[in-house]
């Protein structure tokens, strides 16, 4: 199982968080993405937005100090940063559809090399769990994905085209997996950085389409 090799969950979140630029408004999805708000990215001023209307939250609340009426997208009790503001759900998605989110970070089952991705419906399942993913994917300025390199059975998640129903088309800009950092470039993926302890052969074997490797392939950066 690929999840045991390369980066751990917090390291994947950290690597994505290092991409956030000063002044960005960032939406973090359920699961590993919410761990980005724990990452120390120095003195960059980032506003974390959650689709339930929280603008400007910070790290998870210490145990015993939780405000039970304050949660992030994953239902975890978080803290607020100075300058925070709360709005209702329609206003929160107005922020999303209105194009104010500089990046949304989400999990996914599959990302295709044309930028399509799928994260709401499991094969053969009736119904699904869309949450705010379709709104965010369609409207955020950038979509970054964090996911394991392969499925539990070893099948690639970086693919030529999505087999599962897509969440949005042509929107993914960057993918962090436990194997490294990847960009969909149309006819395949480009690997930007490779995880420590992972070989290029292992990457090739786990990408379901063409893989472009730059001449000087860097190792995944793990400090801000």
């Amino acid at each position: 199982m690929s999840g045991t090799k390369g980066l751990n969950r917090q390291q994947m979140a950290d690597r994505i968080a290092f991409e956030f630029q000063d002044g960005w408004i960032v939406n973090l999805g359920v699961g590993i993405p919410t761990m980005c708000s724990n990452t120390d990215i120095g003195d960059r001023d980032i506003t974390y937005h959650s689709e339930n209307g929280v603008i400007g939250y910070g790290p998870i609340a210490p145990q015993g100090e939780e405000d039970l009426n304050l949660v992030n997208a994953g239902g975890q009790n978080v803290t607020l940063k100075a300058g925070a503001a709360v709005v209702h759900h329609a206003d929160s998605f107005a922020i999303i559809r209105g194009g104010r989110i500089d990046v949304t970070v989400m999990g996914a089952y599959e990302v295709a090399c044309n930028g399509d991705f799928a994260n709401w419906k499991i094969a053969g399942q009736k119904g699904g769990g869309i949450g705010g993913a379709m709104d965010l994917a369609a409207c955020a300025r950038r979509v970054f994905i964090i996911m394991e390199q392969t499925t539990r059975s070893g099948a690639p998640r970086l693919v030529a085209q999505c087999a599962l129903p897509v969440t949005a088309r042509g929107v993914v800009k960057l993918v962090a997996t436990n194997y490294g950092l990847f960009e969909p470039i149309g006819d395949g993926f480009r690997i930007r950085e490779i995880a420590p302890g992972v070989t290029l052969d292992e990457v090739h074997a786990t990408v379901g389409c063409k893989l472009t490797v730059p001449e000087n392939l860097l190792t995944v950066r793990l400090v801000s």
Binding site: E51, L68, N69, V71, H88, G129, G131, A138, A168, R169
Partner: protein, 246 residues
């Protein structure tokens, strides 16, 4: 002016006029804002053939609090309209799934922002609007789209409600509400979309004139009944989050 208090004494009394076939929305995102006590009262009330609107059907966390899924299990529901009708993890099976897959209940899966906007539209007298959300996906298959300024948009319709069941932190007797932090979520928009809004309230109902008019989150004109949530164990309150079952 004789301003009558909108406070009623019990949750049972608050929900007693809900008829079979009603469309009812429930506030809440994770624990905050969920009207646990009104859901419990509706379970006891027993109205049937209901259409329920909420973010999720619930049941993904332990210990389980009253949720929409329980109304389904209780045979009271015809259809749910939610942003989650199944878990996104193959290892989680939520209680609702069994009833949905067997065809005992219908479901309409709606992106969360579209759900919020359809409720807002109903409250704002906007019968339909265009949105970029879900374009190019299975949810848009066979539906009306329109290109505006070179981009494709999906037509969505307002979602009017008979009832909104919500939870607030503070209320005055005329129904002006304040929410604490992310308790707000869907509650204000559901209140505007409903013919009858019932709010369960954490704090004691304060006299009219106590809340600063500039700081009212939901105006009393949208709120019809208020019930004070009693202390636990009689009243149900949000609990600390438990990790999901894996």
């Amino acid at each position: 002016m004789t301003q009558k208090s909108k406070q009623v004494g019990t949750f049972r009394e608050a929900v007693q006029d809900v008829p079979d076939g009603a469309t009812i929305a429930f506030g809440g995102f994770a624990m905050p804002g969920v009207p646990f006590n009104l859901i419990k009262a509706l379970l006891e009330h027993g109205a049937k053939q209901l259409t329920l609107v909420a973010n999720t059907t619930g049941g993904a966390q332990q210990p389980r609090m009253p949720d929409i899924g329980m109304l389904v299990e209780n045979g009271q529901v015809r259809k749910v309209i939610c942003a989650f009708t199944a878990s996104t993890r193959p290892t989680d099976v939520i209680p609702f799934t069994k009833y949905y897959e067997s065809g005992e209940v219908d479901a309409e899966l709606v992106p969360q922002g579209t759900l919020a906007e359809r409720l807002r539209a109903a409250g704002a007298g906007i019968p339909a609007f265009y949105t970029p959300t879900a374009v190019g996906t299975e949810l848009a298959a066979g539906r009306e789209t329109r290109v505006i300024n070179g981009r494709e948009y999906l037509l969505e319709y307002a979602l009017p409600l008979d009832y909104a069941f919500i939870r607030a932190t503070r209320a005055d007797a005329s129904g002006n509400l304040q929410f604490h932090r992310s308790q707000r979520n869907f509650c204000p928009v559901m209140a505007t979309a409903a013919r009858v809004t019932i709010a369960e309230v954490d704090d004691h109902i304060v006299p009219v004139g106590t809340i600063d008019p500039d700081q009212v989150h939901t105006a009393g004109i949208f709120v019809h009944r208020l019930v004070k949530v009693p202390p636990a164990p009689e009243g149900l309150w949000p609990t600390r989050r438990q990790e999901r079952r894996r």
